[in-house]
């Protein structure tokens, strides 16, 4: 028992590891925010492309489907290897000269955009066709109907599942340590290996938990508010 406390919950190690892990964790926060912003925008664009009507749009729809299938199916760690080691290995202008941080953001964005595209798509499809019809019958174009009527309603509906995906993304920022981004988990590993003590991992875990709990509670709150409103409407 003493052994466990000493190796995992040593107050001394906690104090010593904290600054380094915190420094690394700030990189997780940056990865997270940058990737989330990119994901929100790109995923919406791809979801809209997937819903385009007409035969002319078929090739774009197919591309969007291929993209989501490929990146939802590929483990993030493989995408991180491919981007973080593969792109520099190409020895190409711009593409091969980015920082590990940038490659980390690219890998996270590629994978999570595929998930979030599906979330948005479900939201867009959940808006009743009569809404689009009402908008079009007022003379709004397809894009205006999407922009002012369909997408605003779709986005409101998918906020809870979207936030759930972001909890996943926050945690997965730790995975890009495999391409040498000195984020919190990697800092913790370094301390652990140098000192033969695992408390630093606990420190990193605490940071991640503290970050996700508020988001999880906020998601619960949003779901509750919506359920209440829907019950009120049903009466």
């Amino acid at each position: 028992m003493h052994q466990v406390l000493q190796k995992f919950f040593s107050p001394h190690s906690f104090r010593v590891a904290l600054p380094d892990v915190w420094q690394g964790f700030q990189l997780n926060l940056k990865l997270m925010v940058t990737a989330e912003i990119l994901v929100l925008i790109l995923a919406l664009a791809i979801a809209v492309v997937r819903g385009l009507p007409g035969r002319e749009a078929a090739p774009f729809r197919v591309l969007a489907i291929i993209y989501t299938d490929v990146f939802r199916g590929t483990p993030l760690i493989l995408v991180a290897f491919l981007v973080g080691f593969g792109l520099p290995g190409l020895n190409m202008h711009v593409i091969s000269t980015q920082s590990n941080f940038t490659y980390g953001v690219i890998a996270l964005t590629l994978v999570y955009t595929a998930y979030v595209t599906e979330v948005y798509r479900a939201g867009i499809e959940s808006v009743h066709p009569s809404q689009r019809m009402a908008a079009r019958s007022l003379g709004l174009s397809y894009w205006q109907a999407m922009r002012y009527v369909v997408i605003p309603q779709a986005v409101r509906r998918v906020i809870p599942p979207l936030l759930n995906d972001f909890v996943g993304l926050q945690k997965d920022t730790a995975l890009v340590s495999v391409i040498g981004v000195a984020e919190g988990a990697l800092q913790a590993q370094q301390y652990s290996q140098n000192n033969y003590n695992f408390t630093s991992y606990v420190v990193a875990a605490v940071f991640f938990i503290l970050l996700t709990i508020p988001l999880a509670r906020f998601t619960d709150h949003l779901i509750l508010v919506r359920e209440r409103r829907e019950r009120a409407q049903a009466t």
Binding site: Q131, M133, A134, R136, S137, L138, G139, L140, V149
Partner: protein, 248 residues
């Protein structure tokens, strides 16, 4: 008088289901035409073909001198001059009443925000819902929502209004307020095509009544003629059932 809307030999099917069969209809400007008939007789589909929410399979529709069924028409421009109101109101639930009414004038007609709002408030006053401008649709009764839907269509200053069973989803005590509004529109000379199950209303407000049965305009005439001395057996049968149900 030349017709404002003329429908010639229009047919439309969904899969194997032939919903409109060789329909002919002409509507003069400032006239009110009521379409009556059982559910599924093709009333709604006919209305939807008029603003190209549905494409006809055969035949020709001319609105305001412009052929709209040849595939060369600017759909959005056409819809600007044709307002349609649906049975289920279809207000935009994420927008306030005022925003529902200003959306199309601002985005389609390019009205300045202040101008669109002033016009919308004027319309809301006319339908007696000025005080609901900042409410969301789910805070309104069905009758109020339907009045807002009518105001939303009127905000585009349409030359033709299509009303698709606008009172069918309403509680009985809310029907009157909506019909009163439509009656008022008729008095201002709005050209309207109204699909309805409200026979007394049709009789009172229509210049012409068309009875649809299985996608055919089976009989048309003045309200007086259709409701008092229908020629076709099917019209007689339909009206007899309505009378049995105490609805006429």
């Amino acid at each position: 008088m030349t017709a404002f809307v003329s429908v010639t030999n229009v047919s439309k099917s969904f899969g194997d289901n032939l919903v409109l069969r060789n329909v002919d209809l002409s509507v003069g400007e400032h006239n009110v035409v009521c379409l009556i008939g059982a559910s599924g007789s093709g009333k709604s589909t006919l209305l939807r073909c008029l603003n190209l929410l549905e494409r006809v399979d055969e035949g020709e529709i001319v609105v305001d001198g412009q052929t709209i069924t040849n595939g060369h028409v600017d759909v959005n421009a056409l819809r600007r001059k044709i307002g349609i109101v649906f049975q289920a109101y279809n207000l935009f639930p994420h927008m306030t009443v005022l925003d529902n009414v200003t959306l199309a004038p601002a985005k389609v007609r390019g009205l300045a925000r202040a101008e669109a709002r002033a016009q919308a408030r004027e319309l809301l006053k006319r339908i007696g819902l000025e005080d609901k401008a900042n409410e969301f649709p789910d805070r309104l009764s069905g009758g109020q929502q339907q009045r807002v839907a009518i105001a939303r269509a009127l905000a585009m200053s349409p030359r033709l209004m299509l009303l698709d069973e606008v009172t069918s989803a309403l509680d009985p005590q809310l029907v009157a307020e909506v019909l009163q509004l439509v009656r008022g529109l008729a008095e201002t000379g709005m050209t309207m095509i109204i699909a309805t199950h409200e026979m007394s209303f049709a009789r009172e407000v229509a210049d012409k009544v068309c009875f649809l049965d299985a996608g055919l305009i089976c009989e048309e005439g003045t309200p007086e003629q259709i409701f008092t001395s229908p020629r076709e057996p099917r019209t007689r049968e339909f009206l007899a059932r309505i009378i049995d149900a105490g609805r006429l």
